[in-house]
């Protein structure tokens, strides 16, 4: 009996010793990444090469995104969401700003634009000083962190119909959409990011995240043109509670919503003036459906 026990103890001990490195095997290492240095990006007629972006990544990006692209650079510890979001974990291959449908990979152009645009309400500045070639190389470098690009192709960019003329009716219709798809639950009835769900929002990694405040004057994360705003709610911001509404909103309604959101945003706009002339009131969360 004692021999039997000793034998099992030995076996368990050996299993424990061999199992110890398993968690680290599951982690991406620099050696794994070296095998992906051939990753390319294609921006117009420029081809970016991951191997050429190692030095600029180390100079400009590694402090936040970390040597392994996992968003665990030395500055990450000082960033406290929701006021200051944590750096993106490139290994997951999940990106907020895409022209492609929710759940799909972004295009190279999407990543290229994101680098130059930067992100308000985060530590990511506008890296507009790079040459186009350097940015294309960095796009390839970002891609090489995630195995998703090896097995998946980027989604097909959504089609954005031409922007219609703004009319008071469209702005009122946009307010109805705002009420119907319950934007106010997170963004608040005045767009001040104080809806009933706002305090409870977390991203896919369980970190607190703030809804966009339309009234404080900062740029929407994925661009501030009307087309950018249209794109944001039709593709969603992957990894965040902001879903894609492409199944719930028709393209025409989406433009109406863009016009209504402009009435909430800080810079004075023709939409804002039209709303003022209309005497447009904020949505009433308690109003019956269709009776705003």
């Amino acid at each position: 009996m004692r021999i039997e026990l000793r034998k099992w103890s030995l076996l368990l001990g050996a299993a424990a010793v061999f199992a110890l490195p398993l968690p680290s095997w599951a982690q991406l290492t620099i050696f794994d990444l070296d095998t992906r240095l051939g990753t390319e990006s294609h921006i117009g007629n420029i081809t970016g090469h991951a191997k050429d972006a190692a030095a600029p990544y180390r100079r400009y990006c590694v402090g936040c995104h970390g040597p392994l692209g996992d968003g665990e650079g030395e500055n990450a510890a000082w960033m406290e969401p929701p006021l200051l979001p944590k750096p993106r974990n490139f290994q997951l291959g999940i990106f907020k700003c895409r022209s492609t449908p929710t759940g799909t990979l972004p295009t190279d152009q999407d990543l290229f634009d994101s680098i130059a645009r930067g992100f308000d309400r985060s530590s990511m500045p506008q890296w507009s000083t790079f040459t186009k070639q350097e940015r294309a190389d960095l796009v390839a470098w970002v891609k090489h962190f995630s195995p998703r690009w090896a097995g998946e192709k980027p989604g097909t960019p959504i089609t954005i119909p031409p922007e219609p003329e703004v009319t008071p009716e469209r702005i009122k219709a946009g307010r109805d959409v705002f009420a119907r798809v319950q934007c106010w639950k997170c963004h608040g009835v005045l767009g001040q990011a104080n809806g009933p769900s706002a305090a409870t929002l977390t991203d896919d990694l369980g970190r607190p995240i703030a809804a966009f405040n339309f009234t404080e004057g900062s740029r929407p994360k994925c661009g501030d043109t009307d087309r950018d705003i249209y794109r944001i709610f039709m593709t969603g911001l992957d990894g965040t509670p902001m879903p894609s509404f492409s199944d719930n909103i028709k393209p025409d309604e989406a433009w109406d919503l863009v016009f209504y959101l402009r009435t909430l945003m800080k810079p004075n706009s023709k939409e804002k003036q039209m709303a003022k002339q209309l005497g447009l009131k904020p949505v009433d969360p308690n109003a019956p459906a269709g009776q705003q």
Binding site: R58, G63, C64, E74, S123
Partner: protein, 492 residues
């Protein structure tokens, strides 16, 4: 014999192998044992960026850092205004440099002694001295008071702890939402692309750009030094991506000295412009120009023989102009070039203008109360220029190259030449005062974070100047000076 030779060859081979192995290990320790690779840490802390994001090597700016500075120390996002900062954030950085250096100056005239008594004669000899030393202390504090209103305040001490204000200014940024409208008022560095205040070298002669400070031997113009911080008002504009930059400054011709004591009622203009080009994998190349055109006093009224501060009269003109180039050859090599053509009015060439000088700490001191015996006759209103006096002129070039192994390790090499093209006094040796100097060195940052900067600094400078040594026979000796410096350069 063959056995011996074979043994000898094997020993050499073994020694060579060991030597190469040790060298490789040392090189690898220096080059690779570094943590992943940092500057004004106050800015880095504010934005959570490494020093390397803005600095080619701290303190020299890279293109992104230049854009950050041009935007008024703002990244142009919603986090610029201090209201977004953690209340414990303190926009202050301290910088100091403990060093060991050895300075060797050739051809110094020294008294001679014999039998314990002075002979009354002199000899020429080289003086070399070495020891541990300290730089001054800089308190950098700067940033944004409110979105688009920035400031910089730099109290700076000499190694004895005597303080002055090296840099003080407020800046209105992006007026009416345009990056083309920025106004700065105070004491600031001129818009030099190759910034002397961000120089990578620390020795006495290598720690400045000779081209920025050159004046002919005997010249009294202390006002046209483009490397010194100056009092004035600067307009600056730039494109959104900083590819195009222009600036124009109106400066007091007082060499940055306080209390209007030097050269009152005289003004200087400084103009600069540059354009950058995207050259793909080579990087961003920039070419530009600068011009400084001004007037400054040549006389001061006196009281009891002592020049009176603020009483400068009889303004005369001077100019400095040149081209600037910043050329990048990929991710590791770059070359920075500045040229200069300088010219001073003949009165400056004869030594007029410097009767009141900087005391080195931002203040001034009367240096000459002519006609006190021993003083040059450079402050007697109404005197005439010596016959044949001419406007001195010269040409200079600075070429500084860098090999950036990584953001943590940079090798520096610089060559400067200043050549007189016309001396103020006919018959003066045409090369009198010419300067040739080179500087080599490296800076190694063992760590790089957004919290502090630390560099191990090694540097050697050699400077040669024609004809400024003691007179030997009929001609003055050329002087060679060299300095080697090792130290820690850190800020936090």
């Amino acid at each position: 014999m063959r056995v011996l030779r074979h043994f000898h060859l094997r020993s050499i081979s073994r020694f060579a192998t060991s030597f190469v192995a040790v060298a490789l290990v040392l090189a690898s320790v220096v080059l690779t044992c570094s943590q992943p690779a940092n500057a004004l840490p106050a800015f880095a802390r504010k934005y959570g960026l490494r020093c390397s994001a803005c600095h080619e090597s701290w303190p020299m700016l890279n293109y992104f850092g230049q854009k950050f500075k041009d935007n008024g120390y703002q990244l142009m996002n919603d986090r610029d205004a201090p209201i977004w900062q953690n209340p414990s954030y303190w926009p202050v950085t301290f910088r100091i440099t403990p060093i060991w250096h050895r300075v060797s100056t050739g051809k110094v005239e020294v008294d001679t002694y014999a039998g314990g008594a002075a002979t009354g004669g002199s000899a020429i000899q080289r003086i070399s001295t070495s020891g541990f030393d300290l730089s001054g202390l800089d308190f950098h504090t700067g940033g944004v008071l409110e979105k688009n209103i920035s400031f910089y305040l730099l109290p700076s001490s000499d190694p004895t702890g005597a303080f002055h204000f090296e840099q003080v200014f407020g800046r209105l940024d992006n007026l009416w939402g345009s990056s083309w409208l920025n106004i700065k008022l105070g004491r600031f560095e001129l818009d030099n692309l190759l910034s002397e205040k961000r120089i990578l070298t620390l020795t006495g002669n290598g720690g400045i750009y000779q081209t920025y400070h050159f004046i002919p031997v005997g010249d009294g113009n202390i006002f046209g030094q483009i490397g010194d911080n100056q009092f004035g008002l600067e307009y600056m504009g730039h494109s959104w991506d900083d590819r195009t930059r222009i600036s124009a400054s109106l400066l007091s011709s007082n060499d940055g000295n306080v209390n209007l004591s030097t050269s009152a009622n005289a003004y200087t203009g400084f103009f600069a412009g540059s354009q950058a080009f995207d050259t793909g994998r080579l990087g961003v190349q920039r070419v530009g120009f600068y011009a400084m055109v001004g007037e400054a006093a040549t006389y001061y009224l006196t009281s009891g023989g002592v020049p009176l501060g603020g009483s400068g009269i009889s303004n005369k003109g001077f100019s400095r102009e040149g081209f600037v180039g910043q050329f990048y050859f990929g991710q590791h090599i770059d070359l920075q070039v500045v040229t200069q053509h300088g010219s001073d009015n003949a009165w400056f060439g004869q030594g007029y203008g410097n009767a009141i000088l900087s005391d080195g700490n931002g203040g001034t001191t009367a240096t000459c109360s002519s006609p006190t015996p021993g003083c040059p006759l450079n402050n007697v209103p109404g005197t005439a220029l010596p016959a044949g006096s001419r406007a001195p002129s010269w040409n200079g070039v600075t070429a500084e190259g860098h090999y950036v192994y990584s953001p943590q390790l940079i090798f520096i090499g610089r060559f400067e030449a200043e050549r007189m093209s016309q001396q103020a006094t006919p018959g003066t040796a045409s090369n009198l005062g010419n300067i040739t100097t080179y500087t080599i060195g490296y800076r190694y940052n063992p760590f790089m974070t957004s919290r502090a900067g630390f560099a191990w600094h090694n540097e050697y400078n050699w400077l040669h100047q024609d004809g400024t040594g003691p007179t030997l026979g009929l001609t003055s000796a050329n002087v060679n000076t060299s300095e080697i410096l090792l130290g820690f350069d850190f800020d936090f």
